[in-house]
Amino acid sequence: MPLKREASWYKDAIIYQAHVRAFNDSNGDGIGDFQGLAQRLDYVQDLGVSAIWLMPFFPSPLRDDGYDISDYKSVNPTYGNLDDFKKFLAIAHDRGIRVIIEMVLNHTSDQHPWFQESRSSRDNPKRDWYVWSDVDTKYRGTRIIFLDTEMSNWAWDPISKSYYWHRFFSHQPDLNYDNPQVREEMWNVMKFWLDLGIDGFRLDAVPYLIEREGTNCENLPETHTIIRDLRKRIDEEFPGTMLLAEANQWPADLRQYFGNGDEFHMAFHFPLMPRMFMGLRLEDRKPITEILQQTPEIPPSCQWCLFLRNHDELTLEMVTDIERDYMYDIYARDKSMRLNLGIRRRLAPLLDNDRRRIEVMNGMLMSLPGTPIIYYGDEIGMGDNINLGDRNGVRTPMQWSGGWNGGFSAADPESLYSPPILNPVYGYPAVNVLSQKRTEHSLLSWMKHLIQTRRSTHVFGSGSIEFLHPANHRVLAYVRQLEKETVLVVNNLSSAAQAVELDLRRYKGNILIEMFGRNIFPRIGDLPYLLTMGPYQFYWFRLRRI
């Protein structure tokens, strides 16, 4: 049963990012599945989020955690079947949770029947569905994304004796979007899932759809044309469906993906996230304000997607060299924590498991302009396992309780898809949902309270932002405003107590009401408003003229 189609539901949403495989195992085979996930929707609803984003669950050889899809129109058998998905979808909608799924447009698995046909002979009708070349020297200006594993964007196919194009792993050949048949077929795929009732797509790797000689093959105008076409069809046939772009680009380049409100509804703000970590460690708001000042205006119907951590590494592509070196030295001294141009760690270990730092980071996530995403497990402070390869260290089983396999699965621990975290600090005996539910001061309870407060007003999702520039650079302060509602947010990025004087003369006469405890602070007068802040403390004040 689809939810009521509010046109801009995504603007006030809070999204929970989960992985079917890692969430809950209902059949005891050691791998999470849709039935298990459906059983845990109570928890997701209780957390207070309004949407769940599932990572790829399609049939796949799983050489890139499901982003190498071998069949777009069914469910990986280890996660259940299409009926299981439909049941999950219905339950989620019953509980008011929207469902966003992954759609990998750019490439397929090399095991996909399309590619098998395409490579079988040079005159196969599907030959032109992929990008083939006799030489590996075309598109020279294109960067290699997975620097640690790939030498070139071209791979040699011994069967058809030619090269095929791939922007990611060599087992993920890129589809040829110059071919109308490909575009039509991919629309059919999306239509298939939309017909089932899903609420949105996260479109993976969008900047790379089209290749042109003499360019860096990213963000090309032809790519935008394809996206505009998709959006048009969706708006006509499935209004209220949200498109979220994954494009790891600078804000100015990202801006194009919103078009004139006729391309994506949302896009991830990649450069912001590392700068939040940087600002916290430098105890200086400069990195954060700087990147947000460089962020262009977007059409009113569009929205940024903010996150602290996700299933990938903390990417450092969108920072300068000196910033990257700093981030590595501060957050990933151990070289094994680094991957590609990033740091493969979860939120809590990145912040030294410091509750105050976790809180202020989440506070900023929820109050900066955009729709926040919570990565599963971060709401309870789960740890990571850097000894697992690639990004699997941040994709370990959800920790539900201190019992068998952390309550994730009834299978033998050895047969789990991934070993659960077991260390004394972050392991499931110490960090789990069950124990955190029992105490009011647990991180989980605090997160629920934070989400609840965020959802109590539309100002965070849709309001404007204006930065204050107090001379104390360790304090990040901004005013969010929507119609008559005004909220002042003040964050102390320092590990020490700070005094800050805010210039609030524009709001003279208002009183401040702290939003978590609803306590009243003195009225704003002519003098600078003096606040004293404890280490890593943050305030959300509602301004009221009484």
Binding site: M278, L282, E283, D284, R285, K286, P287, T289, E290, Q293, T320, I322, E323, Y326, F467, H469, P470, A471, N472, H473, R474, S494, A496, Q498, A499, E501
Partner: protein
């Protein structure tokens, strides 16, 4: 406490906003708008290049400029209000300014900077002269690194100068400091130097602030404190030192700030220096680069000679109270020499200086008059130094160094004379 009355409320508020820092760069100014911009840029570049991750602040202590110097400094702040500057930094780099007085007072400016460094708990405090137009970004590293990374407490500069610049330094301050305190520190009075936070707070908290000479010659006092206490001192080669604007370098004023302070410091530290009878070299950081110094301007030697001779003749009654009869006789002998054969020998000069120091100590006449009486004699010594090194060009500056070294030898050899004078007159 020194800083309590020193810092204005407004400055204090600015300091609160800056918060704790790792490196503080002090910039004492007075009407330096013409030269300050390249200096500021070099400081910023130096911080970005060598200390991109450290918390740093530029503090300008201004003595009532009328040409907008403080505005130029604050305009150079790198923070989120002024992101028009296309400089990329990790951090906010504050540049703040305070007017410590309406008239320039170098000692008070330095004290303001040191007090700020102490309050902000800076690990390294670097002072840069706003007139050093030859500064390059590496200066900051050369000054601050030894303090910040290697645990030195005072980094004293070494410059490559125009040939005859800094004669008071090479002919009096350096040899005497070296002989008295036993350290071969070439620039005991410097317009650029770095100190550790440890030394700064000890200096500010010591009782010597009650003594007038510290207030007049803060730089020399700081050096003397570093040499006499258990502090680690080093010298760092910076580069070419710009020709200092002469309007600020009045000889008598310079004497008061440097020689006067050095003489006065002897009173308090006698137990220490009376036991020192040789000198240790001070570690050198960095390598002197081979830069050609420009040829100095022509100097009117005849005038120097005349002023010396006149001084010796006219001031005879004053010298009688200051100098011993043998030294006075020697001076009169020298004053009678023709310009062509003029020579004020190193030994006589050292004896003269020591007798002045002893008379200063005993205050036989007004201490300020003693210092003023030394000026004509210094001119004579300057003339000798010019004549001695007339032929040495930039390339064989070694000869000049040899001469300075020989002078230092005389100062060290004659130190017992100073001790004897000290004992005699009290």
């Amino acid at each position: 406490m020194a800083e309590e009355t020193l810092l204005s409320d407004d400055f204090l508020r600015q300091l609160i906003n800056v918060g704790e820092v790792d490196i503080l760069v002090g910039l004492p100014t007075h009407n330096n708008a013409q030269t300050i911009e390249p200096v500021l840029r070099a400081i910023q570049a130096g911080i970005l290049k060598c200390f991109p991750r450290e918390r740093a602040v530029i503090i300008n202590a201004d003595g009532g400029s009328h040409d907008g110097t403080p505005d130029l400094v604050t305009g150079a702040s790198i923070d989120d209000v002024r992101n028009v500057l296309k400089i990329h930094t990790l951090r906010t780099l504050h540049a703040i300014t305070t007017q410590y007085a309406h008239t320039p007072d170098p000692a008070l400016a330095l004290r303001t900077i040191l007090a700020a460094a102490d309050l902000l708990r800076a690990r390294a405090c670097v002072v840069i002269s706003p007139t050093s137009t030859t500064i390059d970004p590496d200066w900051l590293q050369r000054l601050a690194r030894p303090v910040y990374n290697d645990g030195f407490d005072l980094v004293s500069p070494l410059y490559r100068r125009q040939k005859f610049e800094g004669i008071l330094m090479s002919n009096l301050l350096y040899p005497m400091t070296r002989a008295v305190y036993g350290y071969r520190i070439h620039e005991p009075f410097a317009s650029e130097f770095a100190v550790s936070g440890h030394l700064v707070s000890d200096f500010l908290n010591s009782e010597i602030w009650n003594e007038e000479w510290v207030r007049v010659g803060t730089e020399v006092s700081l050096t003397v404190m570093a040499l006499t206490g258990k502090y680690r001192t080093c010298q760092s080669f910076l580069g070419t030192k710009a020709h200092v604007d002469r309007s600020s370098s009045d000889l008598v004023v310079a004497m008061r700030r440097t020689v006067g302070t050095l003489f006065a410091s002897l009173d308090r530290n006698r137990p220490l220096w009376s036991t020192i009878n040789d000198s240790k070299s001070v570690p050198l950081v960095g390598t002197p680069s081979e830069t050609e110094e420009p040829e100095p301007e022509r100097i009117d030697r005849k005038r120097l000679w005349e002023m010396f001779a006149t001084g010796v003749r006219e001031l005879e009654p004053v010298f009688r109270t200051i100098l011993s009869s043998t030294t006075l006789a020697e001076l009169q002998r020298i004053a009678a020499l023709e310009l062509t054969e003029f020579q004020y020998p190193a030994g006589s000069w050292a004896t003269t200086v020591y007798e002045f120091a002893a008379s200063y100590h005993n205050a036989v006449i007004s201490r300020d008059h003693i210092l003023q009486a030394l000026v004509p004699l210094y001119r004579g010594r300057m003339l000798t130094f010019l004549l001695e090194n007339r032929s040495s060009s930039g390339k064989d500056g070694d000869k000049m160094e040899e001469n300075v070294e020989a002078l230092c030898g005389e100062f060290e050899r004659l130190k017992p004379h100073l001790l004897k004078l000290w004992a005699d007159r009290r």
